[in-house]
Subunit: 438 residues, 2 copies
């Protein structure tokens, strides 16, 4: 049962509240999926197979293979790049970055940037400075032509689409969810505004108490599974049916509560407003416009609805292109994809007081806005974050984007941040002060 | 039960022997999936949903939506195009083709080419002449940036890979299967040669009697399903386990028998010899080398093995590129991807006597070689064929390739050929005699 619980924690990318789980203690090198020979051979030996159920394929260290192979285990929907040529990326690799040092949060012992990559079970890392790639490495299951699970970074792209629709006047952030989706009237979402859902300050009776077999997270995961339901299953089928069953608890707008169901509600709102699901919109609004070099894809529920809260897999460089798009406030390759106000709204941040109540020790003074994590630091940095250490970290002051895919054994950024956030900061300072060759 | 039977006939793309099924009688226009609003809305209304089980999603007319959306219903593996720019294609559209007329087999009433497209429930049609696209149209679920189920055309690409490996000396066509895969020793495949398996003249005790609930086809389909098995399931799981259970019946090499399991055995042989499955090889040997503009993908079993006998989905133009590659005997875009002997072996054809025993009325004098259908007509034409009317039809004398995706209601090419083969022939004659502008 423990394993199953852990799996669904992972699968649904819940950011906090997950209790630590025991894992085998393998280091990044020891757990390297290439070294472990997962799925090698025809057939693979039985102890090297990775397959359903999720409790198997999302358990560490198998997890480190799975993050690059979600589509082989689940039905998915394409996020099309279109059929043209990809945009070119310029390189100016900086070999000094590896030896930059920093002190992990809560530690007095210095660590190099290079050491931090293994500490964080990094699968792919890309640093863009002034629009050029200054650093790029692949580890574990990932290669330059591969894709990796973005998990909760998906939320930030869903939030971005919502902000674009708000800026275009197609979505009223002050409207209640029930005014857009009448089926949500009797649910906890019904009286929440679009903005409250976008910022996760909705007040929902939604439990992530993994020790409680009746907790909502279990019902949610059963409803969301794309696999056929058991014959005796009588619960909701799919995101849309599940969301209607969520009840209200407390008052909207008072506290930040990181609940993935907000993003799926937002995905439904976006779909109702536009007639297109988020996979289509990611393609139309982003992938097909940025010169992406690979398609992305999203997991779907049994009725084909993409998992707006965590279902995306994508390539490292394409997320780098998206980071550049954000850094340049909607402009990329000489095109403007959306109004500057979209990014301005995000970087302004959310309600810091509401955020503080959630007690994220590694993110003091931060906030959450439109599904982006805003650090409110001196550089104006903000990020998309996934539960195994994935990030798109945007530092406007340093004109820098860091994209990282990783497969940290536990689903807790509070364990990953200490060797990540100060590392990003030291690279940012270095690049900010670097004299660029002409 | 009837519906389930039909589904699996469709799913596994068996070419012949399937009894007619009653279908709703909707025309191509009436059954146009765009018109039928499948999966439209959030949520779609219950009568517009297409989802598991297969008996639902592969039933006509839903089938006409499903052929473009396999990945949303099943786990799949990517056939990567790589990350470069696609190769360009030149157009010289010929508007005369639509009005070319022919007499369908067994009919005295003339039909135009254009009329044949609807008669065959065409979803996409591409004609290349002297390397230029002279005709291209999309219908139903397919658009230029979409992908369609190739079904049994997958076999021809598996056969092509095998021929390439033979030409390179990596695969001995005279070797028995058991000498390459000892696990097949006790099976019907064990004593068959690679060549007999490639040409489907192996002698296998494999029943496709759909009226028999104990027929092998049912065991095969259960084994091949990527979905988790029922708790009480005790049968083989996956292609590899299933193939080992197939028994011999008769003598190898005497008669052609169209049995998809031959292709999956060939896929396994190829994987054992190369260390790579057919999805990887399709990518490495074909997609990444032809300037493909889209990735393809393949369905997989529960252990990640791609369905070599029918699992591919791909774009129309990329199959056009593959047709050109075949027409040019391995050369494309100035590169040689494999020795000319590969195509020479295929177009030489298989054993006509063995083929005649199978009684394909629409293919008199034909043969089957390396999973390609060889017509042995005056033009030296040969083809990949899928069970709902899909084809890559290559006519060397006319310097012509026709690629067609379609979703004919019944899984019988004997019903589709009468309005297809003479239509291809009349276009070939027209193009062969056409004066090309300079």
């Amino acid at each position: 049962m423990k394993v199953t619980l852990v799996l669904i924690i992972l699968m649904f990318s819940h950011f906090s509240g997950a209790s630590d789980r025991a894992f085998s203690g393998l280091s990044a090198t020891e757990s390297d999926p290439k070294k472990m020979d997962w799925m090698v051979g025809f057939p693979p030996s039985s102890n090297k197979l990775i397959m359903q159920p999720e409790s198997d394929f999302f358990s560490f260290p198998k997890l480190r293979w799975t993050v690059c192979h979600i589509r082989q285990l689940m039905p998915t929907k394409q996020v099309s790049r279109g059929i043209g040529a990809p945009s070119s990326l310029n390189y100016d690799i900086d070999k000094n970055i590896d030896s930059l040092t920093f002190k992990p949060l809560g530690s007095e012992h210095e660590m190099t940037w290079n050491e931090s990559l293994l500490a964080n079970y990094t699968d792919g890392i890309l640093i863009l400075h002034k629009g050029q790639i200054v650093y790029e490495k692949y580890f574990g299951c990932l290669e330059e032509n591969g894709k990796h699970a973005a998990m909760s970074m998906t939320k930030s792209l869903t939030g971005l689409i919502a902000e674009i629709l708000v800026a275009e006047g197609k979505l009223d952030e002050g409207a209640t969810a029930s005014s857009i989706i009448p089926e949500l009237s009797d649910s906890g979402f019904g009286s929440a505004t679009v903005r409250q859902i976008m910022d996760m300050t909705s007040a929902l009776d939604y439990s992530e108490d993994y020790s409680d077999p009746q907790a909502d997270i279990w019902l949610y995961s059963k409803a969301a599974s794309p696999l056929p339901k058991p014959a005796d299953y009588r619960g909701p089928n799919g995101y849309i049916e599940y969301l209607q069953t969520v009840k209200k608890e407390g008052s909207h707008g008072e506290a930040f509560g990181y609940k993935t169901i907000n993003t799926d509600a937002l995905g439904w709102i976006i779909a109702r407003v536009t007639g297109k699901d988020v996979a289509q919109l990611f393609s139309e609004r982003i992938w097909s416009k940025i010169g992406a070099e690979q398609d992305g894809y999203m997991t779907v529920d049994a009725k084909g609805m993409p998992f707006a809260g965590g279902g995306l897999s994508a390539s490292l460089r394409d997320l780098g292109r998206i980071g550049s798009l954000m850094l340049n406030r909607g402009k990329l390759n000489g095109r403007s994809l959306f109004p500057e106000t979209v990014v301005e709204s995000i970087i302004a941040g959310g309600d810091k007081t509401a955020f503080a109540k959630a007690g994220y020790n590694t993110l003091p003074g931060g906030s959450y806005k439109s599904m982006w994590w805003v650090f409110h630091n001196e550089h104006g940095a903000y990020a998309a974050r996934g539960v195994h250490g994935q990030t798109i970290y945007i530092d406007p002051a340093a004109d820098m984007v860091i994209v990282r895919f990783s497969s940290f054994p536990t689903a807790k950024n509070s364990k990953i941040d200490p060797t990540s956030l100060p590392a990003y900061q030291v690279v940012a300072e270095y690049l900010k002060n670097k004299k660029v060759k002409n």
